[in-house]
Symmetry: C2
Subunit: 322 residues, 2 copies
């Protein structure tokens, strides 16, 4: 692969490297950060790994996770930066402030929307995860595999493919996973920690949401609501995934979670199976996303948001039926 030699050359020339990823980091962002940090250290470089947001607790088990700093802990700026899993510069959030003007930035990512913001751009939209790209590098590098790296890469593959369930799960990803399992990683514990583990606040939110579950008569749309009181103290991470309980009901196409962020401000998460393009629905309300997962913010009460979003979905369902 002809991007590996330039990447290794770039690293060769570096002394001190900043490794960053996107805000609210997911498993791929964190794992890529840790794998890159581990590789750079193995190549004798000084490394500072930083993220704008604290790492979700469920990733604390990853080897090296305690070395990832938060922005306010770092005061210097860097001439050499590796940005991972970021489609554009803004995705790094406040980490941008740690990048010296004129710094050399390596941009390694798999988002089709990547705007090539780097000095060197290794962007592979066909990859399921940034970890998949790093796998290819590690596999060819003289550093080679160790359990730590294998654990990082497996975690990135696992999370960005939704546990090998999303349609981006290619034969290549499954073969990479097979090789990593063969290396003796604790893949069962990784899946348990990362995909199965829930927190008490999550279960409390789930219970509250399930208490409000409603479904249209045709069964195609199911929705739940969380009032401001329910979500007090809930983190981004706690709320993640709750909307799927509505979407996952047998026969449902669109699942929705309405949550009252502020009085008169309702965040709407939308998921769909195959009929309704929820990206289009969200766009009607100034939001964004893609056909199967999207979100928007609606001004008004929960009841008002409910009425207008459901009306929009019904109108899409009607035009689909035509």
């Amino acid at each position: 692969m002809n991007w590996i030699q330039p990447l290794e050359q770039w690293i060769e020339e570096a002394d001190r490297v900043l490794v960053v990823s996107h805000i609210h980091p997911d498993g791929d962002a964190i794992s890529s950060t840790l794998a890159m940090g581990t590789m750079l250290q193995a190549m004798g470089k000084q490394v500072v790994m930083v993220n704008e947001s604290p790492l979700p607790k469920k990733f604390a088990f990853l080897p090296g996770a305690d070395e990832v700093k938060q922005v306010h802990e770092v005061s210097e700026t860097f001439e050499r930066v590796v940005a991972l899993d970021c489609a554009d510069r803004a995705r790094m959030g406040a980490c941008c402030e740690l990048i010296a003007p004129g710094a050399s930035v390596v941009n390694i990512d798999h988002h089709a929307t990547n705007d090539s913001f780097g000095t060197m751009n290794i962007v592979q939209p066909q990859a399921a995860a940034t970890a998949e790209i790093l796998y290819d590098w590690i596999d060819q590098s003289r550093v080679g595999w160790n359990e730590k790296l294998a654990t990082h890469i497996y975690t990135g593959l696992l999370t960005d493919t939704g546990g090998f369930r999303y349609s981006n799960t290619s034969p290549k990803v499954l073969r990479q996973a097979a090789k990593l399992v063969e290396m003796g990683i604790s893949f069962h514990q990784i899946a348990d920690q990362v995909l199965e583990t829930v927190t008490l606040p999550q279960l409390r939110l789930l219970k509250a949401a399930l208490g409000t579950l409603q479904q249209t008569d045709d069964g195609l749309v199911a929705w739940m609501k969380l009032a401001k009181a329910d979500i007090a103290n809930a983190s981004h991470d706690d709320l993640d995934g709750i909307v799927n309980y509505a979407r996952n009901i047998l026969g449902v196409d669109v699942g929705i979670l309405f949550r009252e962020e502020q009085p008169q401000t309702v965040k709407v998460s939308l998921r769909s199976r195959e009929i309704v393009d929820v990206g289009r629905v969200a766009k009607q309300f100034g939001g964004g996303g893609h056909a199967r997962a999207a979100g928007c913010t609606v001004q008004g009460t929960i009841a008002e948001a409910e009425a207008s979003v459901l009306a929009e979905i019904r109108s899409q369902l009607r035009s689909e039926a035509r």
Copy 2:
């Protein structure tokens, strides 16, 4: 593989074959039944596929699922039988009545406890699923792969490995999955249907159970309760998986679900991560299972069952700590 030739020879000699699996069939049981039926039909044989229990709705999408009969629909007995995913004859339940005295039975299974009840026994405890064994056969057979067979086998691999998460997920299984994905199956839809889809009764039970969630002060044990009124009309399948919500809480080792089957009869489902051997706990109450998943029935009220099962777990935790 030296079992394939005798198996194909046996099929060659057959005209009409009964294909059965175990009661309360899981994804592997159903998929193996369908794959075997499909292979036999392709080899020009008459096939009757039967199960004691109706197939869970979520498997209805599998090609050929509507051809699987229930026992009462079949009046003849068979001289040639293939039993799949059954550790012993009794696992077939009432399907045993369809086996003629002196019939030739092929027993294909992956349970280490298989008692070789067949005339021909193809038992591979190192296989993650019966579907894994059938994969090897299909891959070598002159019938060869088609999308229907690939869908069956993928479903069996997926379900018996808990979505490639359980420790039985071998590199071999992942490579088989890679090949099946390469054949163009709708693996994303399969995972969605089989692993993600929930029913409204399941969500109602979950909500009721979450409302009773308790945890010991040290956080190691979490439990939930379902009263008889909650589980009226609930199927085996609806209740499946609810106990995992207790086990999956961050920091929990043992998760328990107590459910009142009858007044004074409480079914107890136990799951654990790594400390407590719940098989041993269940055994104290006349139940069974293994270290990570077990169950028992306790006579008394839910409160009584709760007290005695928790006492037993505490005593195991104390002896572990020593």
